[in-house]
Amino acid sequence: MENLGQLGQYLGAGLACVGMAGAAMGVGNVAGNYLAGALRNPSAAASQTATLFIGMAFAEALGIFSFLVALLLLFAV
């Protein structure tokens, strides 16, 4: 029965990491759209790098949350 609990722990940790795929798509979306906009209007690109990093940070945070859930399942349960 203890093994079954451990099985669930490992499966859950693996499943939690699927959330990183969403964060990856989000960060890629931000960077891709920034590049598309920057190539259309290069003179405005430099002023928007701060916004780029803020957008990336918000998208990436959710991936980090899923990584954290995986870590909690592996080491804290």
Binding site: A50, I54, F75
Partner: protein, 250 residues
């Protein structure tokens, strides 16, 4: 070497072992006053910042030497960031933002040295930084704007029927700020260091050693970039929160 020995060799250390806080002297228990490896590396970060910014600019040369121009570059970059994001009236809080940026940057970079310890990989450390920013910004918002600060949650550009719903969402997102602010930094640094250690464990297996050593090199390059970007992101989010406190108009 037999297969079993090779496998045992690959598992001699756990990827999370590098984050254990140990006392510097002896092996007793860790109390709040015990000097630990975390204390050591935070002190080293402070020393490195002092060396760069105080002793590096001691000459005050008109034509700066190498160290002084690095210090000026760092100062100018953070100064411009605060000015761009928060406006002229945010420059009063520039020293705190500069302190945050330098501490996180140097703690991240020193953590990349082999055998070192990165304080920023611990949520305990980053949570203190993030909660101080959160509490400071909230108090500042109420002191500067009084009850108008609550306008941050009352989106006046939205239809009236939607505003209570948006207020709840805005309120939740406001209180999640310190959580995401701290976990983003700690999570990024912890994840990067753990990945390097996982590849290091694979490097003990002869058949895949070349691939994993290449992977360690590539990850290390990425980690240098991440160390800089995460310090930048933490600081720029501090600036954004500061802007919200100084100009809460929605």
């Amino acid at each position: 070497m037999t297969m079993a020995e090779e496998e045992a060799g690959g598992l001699v250390f756990h990827p999370m072992d590098q984050f254990v806080v140990k006392p510097l002297f002896g092996a007793g228990e860790v109390n709040w006053y015990t000097p630990t490896n975390a204390t050591l590396w935070m002190a080293l970060a402070a020393l490195a910042i002092t060396a760069l910014l105080v002793f590096g600019t001691r000459g005050r040369a008109i034509v700066p030497n190498r160290v002084q121009s690095i210090a000026e570059l760092l100062y100018g970059m953070v100064h411009k960031m605060v000015e761009d994001v928060t406006g002229k009236d945010g420059l009063k809080y520039f020293p705190y933002v500069m302190t945050l940026f330098c501490f996180i940057l140097f703690a991240n970079f020193l953590g990349l040295l082999p055998k070192s310890f990165s304080p920023t990989s611990h949520i305990a450390v980053t949570a203190v930084l993030a909660v101080l920013v959160f509490a400071g910004v909230t108090v500042l918002g109420f002191v500067k704007n009084g009850a108008h600060f609550l306008g941050l949650f009352w989106v006046s550009s939205a239809p009236l029927a939607l505003r209570p719903v948006l207020a709840v969402i805005e309120l939740i997102s406001y209180f999640v700020r310190p959580v995401s602010h701290s976990i983003r930094l700690a999570g990024n640094i912890m994840a990067g260091h753990a990945v390097i250690k996982v590849f290091a464990a694979f490097a003990a297996i002869a058949a895949i050693a070349p691939v994993s050593i290449l992977a360690i090199t590539a990850m290390y390059g990425l980690e240098v970039l991440v160390a800089l970007i995460q310090a930048y992101v933490f600081t720029i989010l501090t600036c954004v929160y500061l802007k919200d406190a100084l100009h809460p108009a929605h």
